[in-house]
């Protein structure tokens, strides 16, 4: 039965003209073929920031943390932890922009999926690095394996994050097998090792009907699998907070609230990434205005979902104003953090929920500006979730030095955070230098929508 199918498919390929396909291939392989001066400057800049981060971490670990880091007993989780939450949230971009769209048959996912997946892999790795930077004794990291307690939410988080990393990497590389074959056959002027790498990673791909079948099937299984995993990583990350008795985190809403925020950040991050990649590699024919239009609409939808969970999270407890929540909530609404809090509400929720409703705001440039606001607000939102509440514990903070009361991240901490951002962009940039950042075959397949599937192109 199956064999019969394969033979019948074999006869129906080549509905796609060879010429069209060659143009597409040339466009999409161009970023790998050559690297401009600006590209080199950009990579050098990112490497420099990363090295600063490595040096800052070296100082932090060799000198007294009381001096290098502004964390104290009350605010014992600082910008590293909020940065960790941000990166875990960002890594859900792969779930939304690749898996969900793919499974719901939105064809415009095709040029976006690989961009989303590589950002997801980079973000989740840097989330891990942020956590290690926050540890008091990173030399004892392996105790988590040798003495791990399954009762602790940290151990749950490590389990789901590692599973997600593994699944995301596999999900990134399996659809890349045909692309690797394309690279192997069409790239010139590349060093021997790079060609060898393409050869190895193409796993002997020949593009037979059977190989396509296996590939499609495994991608589908992984795509389905990655959705619950993605939701779990961020839900468990929310539980790191929600399993404590602190008033600012004591919420049954926290998992859904975090996941909805991550989806909003995912769309915004995607807009920025698409804008930059489109400009840098001149891929306007593939990352079209249509994509910005669709992403703009998605941004509105996700903003409304996020606003809904924010109302649950802040306004419902604020209505009751119970003694336990009062301190923390009033501090956010009208206290020390009020300007900060309301700016995040404005830029992180109200603007993305309203402005992209106007069609002209869904053009590439205006939408990207909105998305940049959302990404920045999303980072500060995590800061507001993690930090201000710690300065308002149940028992008053008294008789301590000033630095114990007010936390503001030290230079070392900010350098390491900046380095995590640089490292994320560096991973994505380098990826685009070595691998097609837009999947050649997926785009080609999309162009054939409604026609018979192309089977044997290399």
């Amino acid at each position: 039965m199956i064999e019969k199918d394969i033979t019948s498919e074999k006869t129906t390929h080549e509905t796609f003209t060879q010429e069209e396909y060659m143009v597409m291939k040339r466009d999409l392989l161009r970023p790998i073929q050559q690297i401009g001066t600006w590209g080199k400057v950009w990579i050098a800049f990112l490497v420099a920031v990363c090295l600063c981060g490595v040096y800052a971490y070296y100082i932090q670990e060799t000198k007294s943390k009381y001096v290098t880091v502004s964390l104290r007993d009350y605010t014992m989780w600082g910008v590293y932890i909020s940065n960790f939450v941000f990166f875990v949230a960002l890594s859900l971009i792969g779930v939304l922009m690749s898996a969900v769209l793919k499974l719901t048959n939105f064809q415009w996912y095709r040029p976006l999926s690989r961009i989303a997946e590589v950002i997801a892999v980079a973000a989740i790795m840097l989330a891990g690095i942020s956590i290690v930077a926050a540890m008091g004794r990173p030399d004892r990291l392996y105790y988590l394996v040798t003495h791990g307690r399954i009762q602790s939410p940290i151990v749950w988080d490590i389990i789901v994050i590692l599973t997600y990393v593994a699944t995301s990497i596999v999900l990134l590389f399996i659809p890349m097998i045909p692309s690797m074959s394309t690279c192997k056959n069409h790239l010139t002027n590349k060093p021997k090792w790079q060609m060898k790498m393409y050869d190895i990673l193409s796993f002997g791909w020949e593009g037979t009907a059977e190989q396509w079948k296996i590939l499609k099937k495994s991608v589908k299984i992984l795509t389905v699998l990655v959705i619950p995993l993605g939701v779990s990583i961020h839900t468990v990350t929310a539980w790191l907070f929600a399993t404590t008795l602190r008033s600012e985190w004591d919420s049954t809403n926290f998992g859904a609230y975090f996941v909805s925020g991550a989806f909003l950040l995912g769309v915004a991050g995607m807009v920025v990434a698409v804008f930059v990649i489109r400009k840098a590699y001149k891929l306007e024919n593939y990352l079209t205005e249509m994509h910005f239009d669709k992403l703009g609409k998605a941004l509105v939808l996700m903003s409304f979902i996020y606003i809904y969970f924010n109302i649950n999270e802040y306004l419902v407890p604020a209505y009751k104003m119970s003694g336990l929540h009062e301190n923390h909530l009033l501090n956010l609404f009208i206290g020390e953090e009020a300007i900060f809090y309301w700016s995040v509400v404005l830029f992180g929720m109200l603007i993305p929920a309203s402005l992209p409703l106007i069609p002209s705001m869904r053009k590439p440039l205006p939408l990207t500006i909105i998305a940049v606001c959302v990404v920045i607000a999303a980072w500060f939102k995590r800061y507001l979730i993690v930090i201000p509440g710690l300065a308002h514990p149940y028992l008053p903070i008294q008789d301590v030095p000033d630095s114990w009361r007010h936390y503001s991240p030290s230079l070392i901490e900010m350098t390491i955070v900046a380095a995590t951002f640089a490292a994320m962009m560096l991973i994505v940039t380098l990826f685009a230098k070595f691998f097609p950042i837009i999947s050649v075959w997926e785009v080609a397949e999309g162009k054939l929508e409604g026609k018979d599937e192309i089977i044997n192109y290399k």
């Binding site: 007294s64 014992m76 004794r137 003495h147 151990v155």
Partner: protein, 308 residues
């Protein structure tokens, strides 16, 4: 028989009951007798078993839980047969801060790091403020030990929530989980590090919680080494006003070194309460409300922990 009872009295008698009856594979005396069975002395002693029966055994079967033997406990398991408890009488506290300094010298801490803190509290606008000494509450439902990813902080059988600073990875999740902010992190404050180097020998007087390990969490630990030997914790002995009472819940008695009260009666008579009972943490530290105060409230004029 007479001799035995004269010397030991009711306390040892009960202790034996606990040790023998608690059955107790970890129990000290009985375990030895079971495996070594020393020669019988011929003297019979009446003892009370855990289920309330009076039995007569040979005196060789009885091992007295001496101080040395009580001190031989596993740090992770705790002192057998004990359930430490603390009562803080808010009516007596005048913010003398001797508990703070006593604790700091016991644990080799330099200000501003404090395991016991004295806070100014005021319940409502119309009630008088009072001083509120706060230790780790050694909760019976501890939120901190639940979240530890490596079992570095744990609940012992004697009620103490202890920390193994050789295990702690410094994730500070326990600090986030503690609603009382009782825990402190060793960030390696330069003065503290220098002090620890100078006093390397007398570090870790309290056994369970080593406060000198950089990058780990520490906190009030009820001075377990002293408690094992029957010596009161530093905060109790240092207090000039006898504010803090310490004892064993199993003995139903607490003492501040001068006065001893029956725990259950004291809590009932003085309306003892636990901080934030509604959080369900079941603290092992009780407060007696500041009524019929020994001193009028005076604002603290001195700022103690100003230095960074």
């Amino acid at each position: 028989m007479k001799k035995e009872n004269e010397n030991s009295g009711r306390r040892n008698f009960l202790k034996f009951g606990l040790l023998a009856g608690g059955a107790t594979l970890t129990g000290l005396g009985l375990k030895n007798t079971l495996f070594a069975s020393p020669p019988e002395t011929g003297t019979k002693v009446k003892v009370l078993t855990a289920d309330g029966k009076m039995v007569e055994v040979d005196s060789s079967m009885i091992a007295h839980p001496s101080e040395e033997k009580l001190a031989e406990f596993s740090i992770r398991e705790g002192i057998p047969g004990k359930k430490f408890i603390m009562v803080i009488d808010l009516a007596r506290c005048a913010n003398a801060r001797k508990c703070v300094s006593g604790c700091q010298s016991m644990h080799n801490l330099l200000p501003p790091i404090e395991f016991i803190r004295v806070k100014r509290m005021q319940d409502t606008e119309i009630t008088a403020p009072y001083w509120f000494p706060q230790t780790c509450y050694q909760c019976d439902n501890p939120p901190c030990t639940k979240v530890c990813p490596v079992d570095a902080t744990f609940k012992r059988t004697d009620g103490i929530v202890a920390i193994d600073s050789d295990r702690c990875i410094g994730c500070k999740f326990c600090m986030a989980a503690c609603p009382y902010s009782a825990r402190t992190f060793n960030f390696g404050r330069p003065e503290q590090v220098a002090y620890n180097e100078e006093h390397a020998k007398d570090l870790n007087k309290c056994g369970a919680t080593k406060s000198g390990t950089e990058g780990t969490v520490s906190k009030c630990d009820f001075c377990p080494d002293s408690s094992a030997k029957g010596i009161l914790p530093a905060c109790v002995t240092e207090c000039p006003n006898g504010v803090i009472f310490f004892g064993d819940e199993m003995e139903d008695a607490v003492t501040n070194g001068e006065e001893t009260f029956r725990l259950s009666e004291l809590l009932k008579k003085r309306a003892g309460y636990r901080q934030f009972e509604e959080l369900g943490t079941k603290p092992r530290v009780y407060y007696l409300p500041p009524v019929e105060r020994a001193f009028p409230f005076e604002e603290a004029t001195e700022i103690h922990n100003k230095a960074e």
